[in-house]
């Protein structure tokens, strides 16, 4: 669909992907777009791959984007950026949290976790617009590893016309009050990294 902005959040169960995509969808609505988001729960979530689509536009029909049409791919885990790269439109933007989470297949020795260079090489087949973020490191420094997703949202926000205040409004709504200030700092730190 024309004039639709497509986001795809990917990572591993437990990384806060659903929260991040909820916030991104909320920001779209806040900014006056029609927004849709889609995710999958249940069996696939237990330490498995998690993906969540967000779409903003004046009119949005399908809740998931088509392959090769995603404008922003946000990978909370390095390997997942390569798994999902074909969803990106050529030249789209990729944000990668430089955290490696070994799948069970790697730990038990059935598979090998590729190097970051190998992964980035695959990603760069589709785009040069790659932003690497030490989301986990920044979040830990600010007091809580669980804010990694907020750092990535900050980085993403720097590339969109929507004002940061809109993001922070939605983050405030979505997060328990005692974590809001911490998350504000995480968001701003992410914004600076990418900016």
């Amino acid at each position: 669909m024309k004039d639709v902005i497509n986001f795809l959040f990917v990572g591993v169960g437990g990384q806060g992907i659903l929260t991040a995509s909820d916030i991104a969808a909320g920001v779209g609505l806040e900014a006056g777009y029609e927004a849709k988001k889609s995710e999958v729960h249940g069996f696939s979530q237990r330490g498995g791959v998690v993906e969540s689509h967000v779409r903003w536009g004046e009119h949005v029909a399908a809740p998931i984007a088509e392959k090769a049409t995603v404008d922003f791919l946000i990978a909370l885990e390095v390997l997942e950026s390569a798994r999902w790269i074909d969803w990106l439109r050529p030249g789209g933007a990729v944000f990668i949290n430089r955290q490696r989470i070994a799948p069970m297949t790697v730990t038990v020795g059935d598979a090998v976790y590729p190097s970051e260079q190998e992964i980035l090489k695959a990603v760069r087949v589709r785009t040069d617009d790659v932003t690497l973020v030490d989301g986990l490191g920044i979040a830990e420094e600010l007091g809580d590893a669980r804010m990694t997703n907020t750092v990535l949202l900050g980085a993403l926000s720097s590339r969109l016309a929507v004002k940061p205040e809109a993001w922070l409004t939605v983050i405030e709504r979505r997060i328990p009050p005692r974590y809001v200030e911490m998350n504000r700092r995480a968001f701003e730190a992410g914004r600076r990294v990418a900016g």
Partner: protein
């Protein structure tokens, strides 16, 4: 862009949340469900309203039976379940069609095309045709809310149960919904005394025979109504192509066939034949886009109409924009081509799979580790423990439906299977359908061993209460049914109760239980799921790198917190183990299995 005043009243709701909101707006008095992906979130959303009595039922049939009682008593009622849950409830459902309803009765069936979290991909629209009642299919959250309200009215107008069919993609997608102001609540008044109508509500054969013609007449009346039903609508565009579509499929079709004509079906059974004929005659090419079975297509073909459908669109898995686009291209329809690159970007890269795993601290770990070690034949069930079939455990040999583990193990034994066989079942699942299965094994003097893995919650669906937890959906304290007492009362004397975190005790109990081969045995393994509120983490464990020799034994417990370290052992030339302190819960299962004693408990504070 919308003006700020209207924005303030639009909220992003999932399909499930929207269904709950619609039910509340329709004044539903009673709702019941058994948790099951993708339907689970409907009931917790309804439970938040004080006007509604909302409950977790012990299984889907119980949920529907309770809802039928509420409806007969004059209260609007809703049952929600996943597609396979309707199979469990279908005994009552088929006769509910005969009795009709008292007050409005809505059954939400949340199907799972793509089998994201299910054992099959069955298409429950067939139940509507099978049972001869209407089926509504919303396409976004706004419709999910509106159609649910509509369903209650429809149910009362035609004296029929109404199915609202959702799918994973609808239930778990969020889209804007206009929400009424919060002061728009309603009061829960007592109901008048029960209106006795035995001819309608008591399905003895004599009554059932008289009700059947009513069902046929009702179906005809609803089919006639379908022609003007506001949920079915034509959207005229370019008439070279006319697309008939329903549910979430409509959203994909709307993008791929942008600009062409649509017949959007909100009621997929019974179909508006006149409307379909008229639409078909006005367009050059008729296309049906629907997920899974050719449910609409088959009926359209039976009308003698020529249509493009499942010869180009897949019958399996969920639809996506690309699958609809590929199908349209295959049929030679004039739509925009796919922009997908031919070669995958990561062509030269082998991307390791990331299958689901038991969480760090999961009480099922010791069980499947032991079952693998003992090389037993394992009959499994529906729940997180199905992960036991995956590496590194690979300790499950059959799994078919909820509660079935016990019956399958029993039957295998009765048929003369020489293997030592163990059925594994969860606590919520035990109350769901495990109880009658175990009663059957005991009654028939079966010799299978049943392991009940009591993690004190319905874990896979996100941690719902059940008859063994002592808490209701709406947070009231209630009687906690004690599984051990139940098993003893059923007549099992050979019962072992073991702590899930004691690996040796688990293994020993299994050994002793399977040594008995002339009567049923039960091993009750107790250990809380890490997601149970109040779960206590213990100090994390760590690997002494000077002692670890990279034997890899701890990797075989399949814990996501145990990683390969960068350090390689000089002698074995294998990577040593390390433990991610962020993920570790201190369950000590790895510590217990380490043959070298290289894993130790840290002094960390108990969180």
């Amino acid at each position: 862009m919308n003006n700020p005043a209207s924005l303030a009243r639009r909220r992003l709701l999932s399909g499930n949340e929207a269904i709950a909101l619609g039910a509340w707006e329709a004044g539903v008095r009673y709702a019941a469900a058994y948790p099951g992906t993708p339907s689970t979130e409907i009931l917790p959303a309804l439970a938040a309203y004080a006007e509604v009595k909302a409950e977790w039922a012990s299984n889907e049939k119980v949920a529907l039976d309770s809802v039928i009682g509420a409806s007969f008593a004059g209260g609007r009622a809703l049952a929600a379940m996943k597609h396979v849950g309707v199979n469990v409830a279908s005994d009552s459902l088929m006769s509910l069609s005969y009795t009709g309803v008292g007050a409005g009765l809505v059954l939400v069936s949340a199907d799972d095309p793509g089998a994201f979290s299910s054992q099959n991909e069955q298409d429950n629209r067939h139940f509507a045709r099978f049972g001869k009642f209407p089926c509504l299919e919303p396409s976004d959250s706004q419709e999910a809310k509106d159609f649910t309200v509509f369903a209650f009215d429809l149910s009362e107008r035609f004296d029929t149960p109404v199915m609202v069919r959702s799918t994973t993609r609808l239930s778990h997608s969020k889209s804007p919904v206009k929400v009424r102001m919060p002061d728009d609540h309603w009061e829960r008044e007592p109901l008048p005394p029960f209106e006795r109508k035995p001819g309608k509500y008591v399905m003895i054969p004599a009554h059932a025979r008289l009700r059947h013609p009513e069902v046929e007449a009702r179906l005809e009346a609803i089919a006639e109504y379908a022609e003007t039903c506001p949920l079915n609508r034509v959207e005229w565009g370019d008439k070279r192509i006319g697309v008939i579509s329903d549910g979430i499929s409509y959203q994909y079709a709307r993008e791929v066939f942008a600009g062409f004509s649509f017949l959007k079906l909100g009621m997929v059974y019974p179909l508006p034949e006149g409307m379909i004929r008229e639409f078909a005659s006005a367009v050059d090419t008729l296309v049906v886009v629907e997920e899974l079975d050719p449910f609409v297509e088959g009926q359209v073909r039976a009308m003698g109409l020529d249509v493009i459908g499942k010869e180009v669109f897949p019958r399996t898995d969920e639809l996506t924009l690309e699958r609809v686009r590929e199908g349209a291209a295959k049929a030679g329809l004039p739509i925009e081509e796919s922009r997908q690159p031919e070669q995958p970007a990561a062509e030269e890269l082998t991307i390791p799979g990331r299958p689901p795993a038991l969480c760090p601290g999961c009480p099922h770990r010791s069980v499947y580790f032991s079952l693998r070690k003992l090389k037993l034949l394992v009959s499994g069930d529906i729940g997180c423990y199905a992960i036991g079939v995956l590496p590194p455990f690979e300790a499950m040999d059959m799994l078919i439906s909820m509660g079935a583990s016990i019956g399958m193990a029993h039957g295998a034994k009765q048929a003369g299977c020489p293997d030592d066989i163990v059925a594994t079942i969860g606590d919520s699942t035990f109350f769901h359908t495990g109880l009658p299965e175990l009663a059957n094994t005991i009654y028939n003097a079966g010799a299978a061993c049943t392991m009940i893995l009591d993690n004190r919650t319905t874990a896979m669906t996100g941690g719902q209460e059940h008859p063994g937890t002592g808490v209701t959906l709406q947070g009231e304290t209630t009687h906690k049914i004690d599984i051990e007492s139940v098993v003893r009362a059923l007549g099992v004397d050979d019962l072992w109760v073991v702590d899930a975190m004691d690996v040796e005790a688990v293994e020993e109990a299994i050994r002793e239980a399977i040594a008995i081969d002339d009567r049923p045995t039960v091993v009750l393994v107790e250990g809380e799921c890490v997601f149970v509120p109040g779960f206590k983490r213990r100090p994390v464990v760590a690997v002494d790198q000077d002692v670890c020799n990279g034997c890899g034994f701890c990797f075989r417990v399949g814990c996501p917190a145990i990683l390969k370290a960068d350090e390689i052992d000089e002698k074995t030339e294998r990577p040593k183990a390390e433990i991610d302190p962020l993920l570790c819960t201190g369950c000590t299962v790895c510590l217990q299995v380490c043959p070298r004693g290289a894993i130790y408990e840290t002094e960390g504070e108990e969180a």
